[in-house]
């Protein structure tokens, strides 16, 4: 049984790259392109991992993160937040809201893969 990852990102090209990487690691990839879609997607099917962009239409990533963490069904969901904003304040806020990792764009595909594997305890 493979893990499922929800990619929440509004830049199509970045979504494409993340899909490629996560599939390589072995995830089933689902995509949401704004905050509302992300919430609905999580209610519909609880993923094992969420890759969550911060600058999103409708609701930003922080709000989505908070909602997921407040959902008892999503207790074990791992969240990695992605941001083009590299400010330390954003990282702190993300971790405070319950994100497991904070990754700054542009990211290294190898490092992201490593981080996901470590977080999900997947053998390379």
């Amino acid at each position: 049984m493979s893990y499922t990852v929800l990619v929440v990102e509004d830049e199509p090209n970045i979504v494409l790259s993340l899909q490629f990487i996560m599939r390589q690691v072995g995830f089933t990839v689902r995509v949401a392109s704004d905050g509302d879609q992300a919430i609905r997607a999580v209610e519909d099917y609880v993923p094992d991992l969420v890759l969550l962009d911060i600058m999103l239409p409708k609701q930003d990533g922080f709000a989505v993160c908070e909602t997921i963490r407040n959902n008892p069904a999503c207790h074990n969901v791992k969240i990695i937040m992605l941001s083009a904003k590299s400010r330390e304040a954003d990282r702190e806020k993300a971790l405070e809201l319950g994100a497991d990792e904070f990754v700054t764009k542009p990211f290294s595909t190898r490092d992201l893969g490593e981080t996901v594997r470590r977080l999900m305890q997947i053998e390379a």
């Binding site: 509004d10 970045i14 790259s17 392109s33 239409p57 764009k105 290294s108």
Partner: protein
């Protein structure tokens, strides 16, 4: 009568006076009783009645009738109606330990030695005729008495006696007597009970003598008043005496009344005996009626004696001034004549003694001592004991004063009657009246006022009364009187400035008072009081307010020891006396004075008063000032300090103001800072946005670059897709960087604008042309609606193209995805050349209509899909349009979609053309 007898009686009488004074001074009990007696005090005031009264009144009455009366009416009026003036003066004298009239005036106008000196000079010169009058009367009466025998009357004075001038002998004798009497004590402000008692005794003697002669004439020779007046009324020549003399009589009455009113206060001896020697202010209340009563009584027999004399000596050239003496002699009553002589002697001696003491005190304290103290090389200030020097000065001045009196007698007074001489003196004394009366009622009177008034009044007095009297005696050419000096008519001393028709006295009094009061008043108004004057003026005028606390006006600080002070005062007052006084002072205050202690203000004040009693307040101040020199804090300094304090206060006000300003500046700074922070955070936001916008394409570039690098096995299709993405994102990145740089340049004003005439229609066509591919791709229906003959405008063509491209690009992005419609229009309007770009998209929410023109205000929130673009397009448009002098805005169309407008001003040339059309 033998001269031996007369001389013996005279010297016995003088000896008796001396004995009385000595007895009173040495018997403390007697002294106390006498000093508590208002009658003694009143009798001493009767020193006013001199030989002028004793002999002169009868002489005046015998020649001009009732004219003798005003001299007594004036004092009566002052005592009855104006005793409050006296009470005020007495209170002031006691408070300030005033020693003389000069001291009084000097003290009032700022303790000025100059003023004291001036008053002294005036007093001495003014009193000289008066003293000569006494000498004349004594000498004449003496000569008449010894020359007469058995009813035979000498027709002419006999000269000389003892081979010498009788008058000179009298002068010297009186000088010696006055010296013996008046300079036994040093402290002039102490009360001389012995002296006062002797003077009072003399008043009794002269009254009794006059009454005796009067009673003898009235009842001895005639049968009472009725008899005398009946006999006189028969004689038309004599009945004239019962009325006021015709013509100038009333003016003269007025003048003499006023003059004597002034004189009773301002004559140095009257001032001295009434104010300085007053033991108790309340005695004045008794004197108020007692002294006028004395004047009344001594005048009762004036007319009878005058008439008796006229009747007795009818047809002979007898001296009417000597009737008091000669009438009894005529009827061969030698004893009564002798008594009359004694009465005249007592009247004269009392005047001379008191005047000599008063004047010598003034000369010493206000004239000689200030000068001596100024001459440092004399070493006066260093001398151990100055009491001897002070006494010597006083004694010498008494001698000089009497010699002066004798000199005036020799040079001038032979040709005048007693009363005329006396009036000259009165007029001099009257010059003090404005300064004294003004001084105690008018606070604003200044030193310069007093100085000017006194000087002017005195000069006029000299010119209109004293100089003519010398001229008439042959010491000046008589033409001086008749034609004026150098025949200048308006300077004739008896008709100054052409004023004629008055008697000489009225004339002199009018002009001297005119200049005196005028000078006093005007100079007082024109000059400022110094601090010390201000204080003294207040202390004098408000003496009844300050009586309880008349501590003087200075604040002292410094390091003068009590020993120093005691030594200084001791030199003038006597060492033992000062020690006693200081002990009493300490005891009174319950403090212990140690010699090494420094002096406090109260003790210095006390010492100054002690010294003032001896050498006058002005000199005392100089002396005290010299010992504490450099350390005396004068009132001026206090005022200065106060000034400085107020300056400090003002300064601190300024500081306060400054600090308020600083606070304001601070809050402004805080606001500015807040604004800066805001701007900073805006800049932060901007940088954060820029960072985000740059990172987004970079993320794709890196991700796909790595994917391609790490996964050589990806399919050709995927590879080309990824490479396409990389190329697109690179372009996006380049575009973004270009726009950012453009915007930054424009905002910084560093953009290189190439302004030229631009054909707008052509520009729009070109711009739309660059987007044709995209428009066709999206299947958008674009229409151009450009008016023909659009004027050219001044602009940078590339930038203007940029604006149109941005707007059309936005329209392409936001128009309806399925059936996009874009319309571009251009026309000429009010503000210039208009251009609009409209689409059929969803439009812009009203609150964002302005915001969309801000950098990065782009809006994911508006559209469902992620829009393409940097978020800088509209911001750049706005920069360009604003730079070209136009404006840009957007409106939502009623039928949906947005419509962007911009308007650019026409170039000046076009505007002119438009106006011409």
């Amino acid at each position: 009568m033998s001269s031996g007898l007369v001389l013996t009686v005279s010297f016995l009488y003088l000896g008796l006076l001396f004995a009385i004074a000595h007895y009173v001074d040495t018997r403390a009990a007697v002294k106390r009783i006498l000093s508590r007696n208002p009658y003694i005090y009143t009798l001493s005031i009767a020193v006013f009645c001199t030989s002028w009264t004793f002999y002169g009144s009868v002489g005046r009455a015998a020649t001009t009738g009732l004219d003798f009366l005003p001299i007594y009416l004036g004092p009566t009026l002052v005592f009855v109606l104006w005793s409050f003036v006296w009470i005020k003066i007495i209170r002031i004298c006691k408070q300030h330990r005033i020693t003389s009239i000069a001291d009084f005036i000097a003290s009032r106008y700022g303790k000025s030695t100059a003023l004291g000196g001036l008053v002294t000079v005036i007093a001495v010169i003014g009193t000289t005729p008066y003293i000569s009058l006494q000498l004349k009367s004594i000498a004449t009466s003496f000569r008449i008495l010894i020359a007469s025998s058995g009813g035979i009357l000498p027709t002419a004075p006999v000269e000389p006696i003892f081979f010498m001038d009788t008058t000179l002998i009298v002068a010297i004798a009186l000088a010696l007597f006055a010296i013996l009497f008046g300079t036994r004590h040093i402290d002039a402000s102490e009360h001389h009970e012995g002296l006062v008692a002797a003077i009072a005794f003399e008043s009794v003697v002269k009254l009794l003598a006059f009454l005796t002669v009067g009673a003898f004439v009235t009842y001895g020779i005639f049968n009472g008043f009725t008899d005398i007046f009946e006999r006189a009324s028969v004689d038309p020549e004599l009945s004239r005496l019962f009325t006021v003399s015709q013509g100038e009589g009333y003016t003269l009455w007025m003048t003499m009344t006023l003059l004597s009113m002034a004189a009773i206060i301002c004559l140095p001896r009257q001032f001295y005996i009434t104010a300085v020697e007053n033991p108790d202010e309340n005695y004045m209340r008794k004197a108020t009626w007692l002294f006028p009563a004395y004047l009344l009584v001594i005048n009762i027999f004036v007319l009878p004696i005058a008439i008796g004399g006229r009747l007795a000596f009818a047809g002979t050239p007898a001296d009417a001034d000597m009737f008091v003496l000669t009438v009894p002699l005529y009827y061969d009553h030698g004893l009564i004549s002798l008594f009359a002589f004694l009465g005249g002697l007592s009247a004269a001696t009392s005047m001379v003694i008191v005047a000599a003491i008063a004047l010598s005190t003034m000369v010493c304290n206000d004239l000689v001592m200030p000068v001596l103290l100024r001459w440092k090389w004399l070493g006066i200030g260093k001398n151990a004991d100055l009491t001897g020097l002070l006494l010597t000065i006083r004694r010498c001045s008494i001698l000089v004063i009497l010699i002066l009196g004798y000199g005036y007698y020799r040079f001038a007074s032979e040709s005048y009657s007693l009363v005329t001489i006396g009036l000259v003196s009165f007029a001099a004394a009257a010059q003090f009246a404005p300064a004294i009366i003004g001084g105690i009622f008018w606070k604003n009177a200044t030193f310069m006022g007093a100085m000017s008034g006194l000087t002017l009044g005195f000069v006029v007095w000299l010119y209109t009364l004293l100089l003519p009297s010398l001229a008439q005696s042959g010491w000046l050419p008589i033409s001086f009187i008749e034609e004026g000096p150098n025949s200048i008519w308006w300077l004739k001393p008896y008709a100054l400035f052409g004023l004629e028709g008055f008697d000489r006295l009225t004339h002199a009094l009018f002009w001297s008072m005119f200049f005196n009061i005028g000078g006093y008043w005007i100079a007082s108004l024109l000059t400022q009081q110094k601090a010390i004057e201000r204080i003294q003026a207040k202390l004098f005028v408000d003496v009844f307010l300050h009586t309880e606390d008349a501590r003087d006006s200075s604040y002292w600080r410094g390091s003068v020891t009590i020993a120093d002070l005691q030594q200084l005062v001791g030199r003038f007052v006597g060492v033992r006396k000062v020690a006693d006084a200081f002990d009493a002072f300490a005891e009174e205050r319950g403090i212990n004075l140690r010699k090494s202690h420094t002096v406090d203000a109260a003790l210095l004040d006390f010492a100054e008063r002690l010294l003032a009693g001896s050498i006058g307040s002005a000199t005392a101040r100089v002396m005290i000032g010299s010992i504490v020199k450099g350390e005396i804090v004068s009132l001026d300094e206090v005022y200065r300090i106060l000034d400085e304090t107020s300056q400090v206060i003002e300064y601190s006000h300024k500081l306060e103001q400054k600090s308020t300003e600083l606070e304001e500046a601070t809050s402004q700074l805080q606001m500015a800072n807040a604004r800066l922070k805001e701007l900073d955070s805006l800049k932060d936001d901007f940088l954060s946005m820029v960072s985000h916008e740059l990172r987004t394409p970079l993320t794709s570039l890196r991700a796909f670059g790595e994917i391609l690098h790490d996964n050589p096995e990806v399919s050709v299709q995927e590879r080309s897709q990824f490479l396409g993405i990389i190329i697109n994102e690179s372009e996006r990145l380049t575009r973004l960087i270009d726009q950012l740089l453009d915007l930054a340049k424009m905002e910084a004003g560093r953009m290189d604008w190439l302004l030229e005439e631009v054909d707008v229609a052509e520009t729009i066509n070109e711009a739309v042309g660059t987007l044709n591919l995209l428009i066709k791709d999206r299947n958008i229906d674009l229409t151009l609606s450009l008016d023909k003959d659009l004027p050219a405008i001044k602009a940078d063509k590339d930038q203007l193209t940029q604006v149109v491209i941005n707007l059309v690009s936005n329209a392409i992005k936001f128009c309806d995805a399925e059936q996009g419609e874009i319309k571009v229009a251009a026309w000429q309007g009010d503000e210039g050349l208009y251009c609009s770009v409209e689409d059929n998209g969803v439009g812009v929410p009203a609150p964002l209509k302005e915001k969309i023109f801000e950098r990065f205000h782009q809006s994911h929130t508006v559209t469902q899909d992620k829009p393409q673009g940097s978020g800088l397009g509209l911001a750049i448009c706005r920069q360009i349009v604003t730079f070209l002098g136009g404006r840009i805005w957007m409106e939502n169309r009623a039928e949906g979609g947005a419509r962007f407008y911009f308007v650019l001003p026409l170039s000046e040339q076009d505007t002119e053309q438009a106006a011409a059309e």
